[in-house]
């Protein structure tokens, strides 16, 4: 059982995110988990209850009716339908290893969607989260490599993103430029800025180094004792907390969603957010400080974009100046919020809905890959599925309205 660190390495350049082979940039400690297509090892065995946090629809009529009266009800039903479809059509959907694979497919979008909900409930939109997503890890890299400790470097990076949100809010709430235009300009500005300061080169994420250790493990084969070396990858505590750990992003997402949903539903901040989105003039007449509310929410949203950028950089081990990837992530974040039942027109939205919307997108991508869909078809099917899901969403919502008023 002797062991010792033998080398310390960054993951290779082939670990860009969004690749269709599902390799995690930083293999989670304890083994090469998450490899697609490989049946789970015995110890990692199948867990039939995995993913059944919400019982399948139709199990109880009363429950279904109650779920439908929720604002998130329709997307919960749609997500369950998709999950059940993939569970029936693929053998490995309801497995622990697949659940781990699924995590990075939805947790980042849940966080982005949560921030976006706060802006969309105002009736605005924030496209610049793609920019903060891209810029924050670079700022973090610059700060950490110039001597700042890791956690303060993260914090300063996030504060810079909040400053971006403040600037967005200033132009939208005070100058009076539409949020679409302002944040589109900010998106390009930040992406360009990232390209300038990075010279377009990917960098290794500070604090996300993978340490490889070799253990000698004793096996018993036909009564003979054989000792074989096995390599194990380790990442530091910082990396485990900030996205590198298997459940790190999930925990971040859940905590952020719970906290922000509580803020939206149970605090004055949330009340004023809904007020401004529903009736801006009326809110102002009633004494709500409309501009303050708007600026505050844009700061929150920008910070969410930056946090996801850093988490993903730590998870993948590389800081990538990939503007196209950032744009796709931005739109998936917005899609999560919209699919989750937040109206683009404002006045209404739920953070939990954004989480479920992100889960829907994650399950869709994961399930399609499990089904062996050609990588070139992935985006095509995703697009069609979003339209189909939103159509079902609309019809289920009509049922819900009927159930409510009846």
């Amino acid at each position: 059982m002797a062991s010792g660190p033998t080398e310390s390495a960054h993951p290779g350049p082939g670990t860009e995110r969004g690749d269709s082979t599902h390799q995690r940039g930083v293999p989670p400690g304890g083994g090469p988990a998450g490899e697609r297509g490989v049946p789970p090892a015995g110890g990692d065995g199948e867990d039939p209850t995995r993913g059944r946090g919400v019982p399948p629809g139709g199990e109880e009529d009363g429950l279904l009716a109650r779920v439908l009266t929720l604002r998130e009800g329709s997307i919960i039903v749609v997500t369950l339908i998709v999950a059940i479809y993939f569970a029936l059509n693929t053998s490995s959907f309801f497995t622990t290893s697949n659940f781990k694979t699924l995590l990075p497919y939805f947790a980042p979008f849940a966080i982005l969607g949560a921030g976006e909900v706060f802006v969309m409930v105002l009736g605005e939109i924030d496209l610049s989260i793609g920019g903060t997503y891209l810029l924050a890890p670079y700022l973090f890299y610059k700060l950490a490599t110039s001597g700042l400790p890791l956690v303060p470097a993260v914090l300063v990076g996030l504060i810079a993103c909040m400053a971006v949100g403040l600037v967005n809010g200033f132009f939208i709430a005070i100058v009076g430029i539409s949020s679409f235009v302002t944040t589109l300009g900010m998106l390009f500005t930040l992406e360009g800025l990232t390209l300038i300061i990075s010279h377009g080169e990917p960098k290794s994420t500070p604090g996300a180094e993978v340490h490889v250790t070799t253990h000698n493990v004793e096996h018993v084969v036909n009564g003979h004792h054989i000792v074989l070396p096995e390599t194990v990858n380790h990442i530091g505590t910082f990396a485990k907390i900030f996205g590198g750990g298997v459940y790190s992003e999930l925990i971040w997402a859940l905590v952020i969603v719970v906290v922000l949903q509580a803020v939206l539903t149970f605090t004055r901040w949330g009340l004023y957010t809904v007020s401004v989105g529903s009736n801006k003039l009326g809110a102002a007449e009633a004494g709500v400080r409309v501009r303050l509310v708007m600026i505050r929410n844009f700061i929150l949203c920008a910070a969410a974009g930056g946090l996801v950028g850093i988490l993903e950089a730590v998870r993948s081990g590389t800081v990538q100046p990939d503007t196209a990837g950032a744009n796709e992530i931005l739109f998936l974040g917005i899609a999560a919020a919209v699919i989750g039942g937040t109206l683009l027109a404002g006045g209404s939205g739920t953070v939990v809905g954004a989480l479920i919307g992100a889960l829907f997108l994650g399950i869709l991508k994961d399930g399609l890959i499990l089904q062996g869909v050609n990588a070139n078809y992935l985006l095509f099917y995703t697009g069609l599925a979003i339209i189909l899901a939103m159509t079902i969403n609309v019809y289920v919502q009509r049922v819900r309205r009927g159930a409510r008023s009846g």
């Binding site: 605090t267 004055r268 007020s275 009736n279 003039l281 809110a283 007449e285 009633a286």
Partner: protein, 275 residues
């Protein structure tokens, strides 16, 4: 005829009484090319109900919005309890005891009845600032019962309520406060006869209590004579009449408005080339 066309209407300057709670002097306000208020002076005595009249576009709502801190005047000054009064915001005016029912009601459709009633005056728990919804529901129920407007469910969004019910909520929001000056901008506009009577009863009750002073914009002169102690009429951005209601009549009020209309028409015709 030329005389009538050129003669200016009578303009009432600043009038005061020793027990004024609010005085407004020479207020003027322009919105770009549009002059909303030219020179408006009025006063409000303690416990009084002042009816503010005037045709559409005369500047009534602008005056209300300046008094309640939502807009700032270009010139002129205001005095509250004898002290100079220049509200920085709606919140500031509210803190000084002025509450408003706006013409557009300023209700948030997506929020429940009780959240609307307590908007900007929410009860929150301590130390975590979560909304004390149960407390607000009880308060809202009490406030609505006091007014006597029947709203069966106070946890539904106000978007689902009728126009009269919405207006009642806006009035209840104002009355259910510690304010000593209430500004009501057309509180009866969307109401049926019965609901309107309830609001007028409420105003009468408040007047009898003598605690609050009210400025109320109304269009129905019968209501004005019934509910108000005194009327001020704004015409073309100026005060054209300021009289106790007992000294005026529906006919006189109507005549002032019609006269203004005729004068304006003659002035237009008198101008070379018309308008």
């Amino acid at each position: 005829m030329a005389d009538a066309a050129t003669s200016e209407p009578a303009v009432i300057g600043p009038t005061t009484a020793p027990d004024d709670v609010l005085r407004v002097e020479h207020l003027a306000k322009r919105f770009g090319p549009v002059t909303a208020l030219r020179d408006v002076s009025l006063h409000l005595r303690k416990g009084e109900v002042l009816g503010l009249l005037g045709d559409n576009g005369a500047g009534k709502s602008t005056l209300i919005k300046i008094i309640c801190g939502f807009q700032k005047q270009d010139s002129g000054s205001m005095f509250l309890h004898g002290q100079p009064y220049a509200p920085k915001s709606v919140d500031d005016a509210r803190a000084k005891g002025i509450e408003t029912v706006y013409q557009d009601l300023a209700l948030i459709d997506e929020l429940s009845v009780y959240h609307n009633l307590f908007l900007r005056r929410e009860h929150v728990h301590r130390p975590l600032p979560f909304l004390a919804n149960a407390q607000m529901k009880r308060g809202a129920r009490k406030a609505l019962d006091e007014i006597g407007i029947n709203i069966p469910r106070i946890d539904v969004a106000v978007a689902r309520l009728s126009g009269g019910q919405r207006q009642a909520i806006a009035v209840a929001r104002t009355v259910n406060s510690d304010a000593d000056i209430l500004l009501l901008d057309e509180p009866l506009a969307a109401m049926g006869a019965k609901e309107g009577a309830m609001i007028l009863d409420l105003v009468a009750r408040l007047k009898a209590e003598g605690r609050v002073s009210i400025i109320m914009i109304l269009h129905n002169y019968v209501h004005v004579l019934e509910a108000c102690d005194r009327v001020s009429m704004i015409q073309d951005g100026r005060i054209a009449l300021d009289k106790p209601t007992v000294e005026t009549s529906v006919e006189e009020l109507t005549e002032i408005v019609v006269e203004e209309y005729r004068r304006a028409r003659l002035a237009d015709q008198g101008r070379p080339g018309g308008r």
